[in-house]
């Protein structure tokens, strides 16, 4: 299995960051970057990375199932992550999440039928002073309101 040139370069960079014999240390970021490119961690991706790092596949499975950002299920092109932890919650994050569910017509962990959006309630994303905050893929959106969310979703709907 081949990945894009950029990802292959990233893999090399990640692996070469560690002393010889310690290649396994690159596993967690490799999985995350591979997921960013492929969309989710397919059995092929896991197999490939396991092979490259010479880690048994089942040990990679153990790692994949541990980290909350890693997923074996496909997500939407735009993965809407709404933080509802205390700071954001105090400023209306739970209502924001409810609003997102309504607007998107999906529950957390689901993907819209067109594959464009998926929704996840996430734990603190480090934007406590500027909440409620959400992340769309890796992009932060601070001081969110239901109205701002609607506008954002509309833009993303139109995006190519």
């Amino acid at each position: 299995m081949r990945f894009s040139e950029q990802l292959e370069a990233k893999f090399n960079q990640l692996i070469s960051a560690f002393p010889p014999g310690r290649e396994r240390a690159a596993l967690v970021p490799m999985l995350l970057y591979a997921q960013d490119e492929v969309g989710h961690l397919t059995p092929e991706v896991i197999q490939e990375i396991a092979g490259r790092l010479r880690v048994p596949v089942h040990e990679v499975d153990e790692v994949v199932s541990y980290y909350s950002m890693l997923t074996r299920k496909p997500r939407g092109r735009y993965h809407i992550q709404i933080c509802t932890n205390i700071s954001c919650m105090l400023l209306g994050a739970e209502q924001l999440l409810e609003h997102a569910k309504q607007r998107l017509g999906i529950d957390c962990g689901e993907v819209t039928p067109d594959g464009r959006f998926s929704l996840e309630e996430v734990e603190c994303i480090g934007a406590c002073c500027w909440g409620p905050a959400i992340q769309v893929n890796y992009d932060y959106h601070h001081w969110m309101t239901p109205e701002k969310l609607d506008r954002l979703l509309e833009e993303l709907r139109k995006a190519q």
């Binding site: 002393p19 967690v28 980290y67 890693l70 700071s87 919650m89 734990e123 406590c128 601070h142």
Partner: protein, 439 residues
């Protein structure tokens, strides 16, 4: 290259670590060098490792990740004579709810962090450093990688740093979603490509850290304080704070305040002043109800307990913790039961599952509190919440169990009447068991 400020600075701030925030091109090495950057490192190159560690000890700098362990002492534990390679690891897995300071330090002034790492490397003889950044902070990895590239170009990193023969390489490393990886031994496991499960300690990372080699492991903010300490002297840094609590620290004031934001204030700054004078007071003129002073794992303080200096010892004396600097302010409208449920949900979600009391205790607390929130519990079960917390406290493998039990117990004990009121109100609906299931 000129990141915007998320909030206006306060005139009450003492800007040591944040002094470059808001400067044009604050991320670039040119800005950094033009404002005294890497001078501390040059100075450190003239110092012996012992002198560097002594200077850090003199600064009274205590770990900014949450535990507040004296940094100089931690560095002193690293056996420099060991034949094993030594590592410098930055804990940039900022995940404590209420905390968003490390993000700004890396976004606005990445070279300050690199300089702190270089000084640490010089102090312990490390040749490799890793910045373990939570996966969500992807954009910071790009910023840091750029800064690292600049540092190599200017000879601050590499195999012959500034012609001195010193060798040090820095790498960024992404996590992938796990609060537990903020615990230092779990972070090391994760950095080794494994599940983020904590290790048995001792041995501590100073002697057996990354790949079982001696490792200096500190929070981002801790490393960022190092250049100022070496540049201006440990004593000068110490003098900014209170006895045994040196320097300034970044407080993340969030929740029901008019000007939430990250502010650099001297250690020992009064909490009420912080809320009213720095953060512009409680929003909409409402009354202060409670504050979580140091991130979600710290016991809550009632409004009347908040007139206290924010340093490790004073907050501990008040029955809470200074923690990671996440000051979460709650006004009189806050539903304390909901906050407690949310905290319980968080810790249950993040419990790694390794040890029994944390794995089962956080789960039990979450379900029990959810039931209480829904009004379908007996009043005596409020005592059960406290007992479950007591049964977890001090008995879990790593501090995550304590981090869950301490705040939850404090909410129930300090706002018990609110919890009791919940149990008096008519039951709204029979809960759907699925709503209790963790996704």
């Amino acid at each position: 290259m000129s990141p915007r400020l998320y909030n206006e600075p306060s005139p009450l701030e003492v800007k040591i670590l944040t002094r470059r925030f808001g400067l044009p091109n604050s991320q670039s090495i040119d800005t950094y060098l033009a404002t005294g950057g890497y001078e501390a490192f040059r100075k450190a190159l003239e110092m012996t490792p012992e002198e560097i560690i002594e200077e850090v000890k003199a600064s009274n700098l205590r770990g900014r990740g949450g535990a507040g362990f004296p940094t100089g002492m931690k560095w002193g534990f690293v056996p420099r004579e060991s034949p094993l390679p030594k590592y410098v690891v930055v804990n940039a897995d900022e995940g404590e709810p209420g905390t968003c300071k490390d993000r700004l330090l890396m976004e606005h002034d990445p070279h300050q962090l690199l300089e702190g790492m270089l000084i640490a490397a010089r102090a312990v003889g490390a040749e490799r450093g890793y910045i373990y950044i939570r996966g969500e902070y992807r954009y910071l990895i790009e910023i840091l990688d750029r800064a690292i590239g600049e540092a190599y170009e200017r000879g601050f990193l590499g195999d012959n740093i500034l012609g001195t023969g010193m060798r040090f390489h820095v790498y960024t490393h992404s996590g992938a979603g796990s609060y537990e990886c903020g615990e230092e031994s779990a972070l090391l496991e994760s950095l080794e490509g494994k599940r983020g499960v904590p290790r048995i300690r001792p041995p501590f990372p100073a002697t057996a850290g990354l790949f079982q080699c001696p490792t200096v492991l500190n929070n981002v903010e801790t490393f960022c304080a190092i250049p100022a300490i070496i540049r201006d002297g440990g004593k000068a840094f110490a003098a900014l704070g209170t006895p045994r609590n040196g320097g300034t620290r970044l407080f993340c004031i969030s929740g029901h305040v008019n000007r939430p934001g990250v502010y650099e204030l001297p250690m020992g700054f009064n909490l009420l002043r912080m809320i009213h004078e720095v953060a512009g007071g409680v929003r909409d003129g409402r009354k202060l109800k409670a504050v979580i002073p140091g991130g979600s794992s710290c016991p809550v303080l009632k409004a009347e307990e908040c007139d206290l200096p924010m340093d490790f010892d004073s907050v501990a004396q008040a029955g809470s913790m200074l923690g990671s600097g996440g000051v979460v302010v709650m006004d009189e409208t806050t539903d304390m039961v909901r906050v407690a449920v949310r905290i319980a949900k968080f810790y249950q979600h993040e419990s790694c599952g390794w040890c029994v009391p944390c794995r089962e205790g956080t789960t039990w607390l979450r379900h029990l509190l959810t039931r209480i929130d829904q009004g379908i519990a007996k009043p005596s079960e409020l005592d059960l919440v406290v007992e479950i917390c007591n049964n977890m406290l001090g008995r879990t493998f790593c501090p995550l169990g304590d981090a869950a039990a301490m705040p939850i117990r404090s909410f129930v004990m300090k706002f018990r009447e609110e919890f009791e009121a919940r149990l008096r109100r008519p039951m709204v609906a029979v809960p759907d068991p699925d709503s209790l299931v963790v996704s």
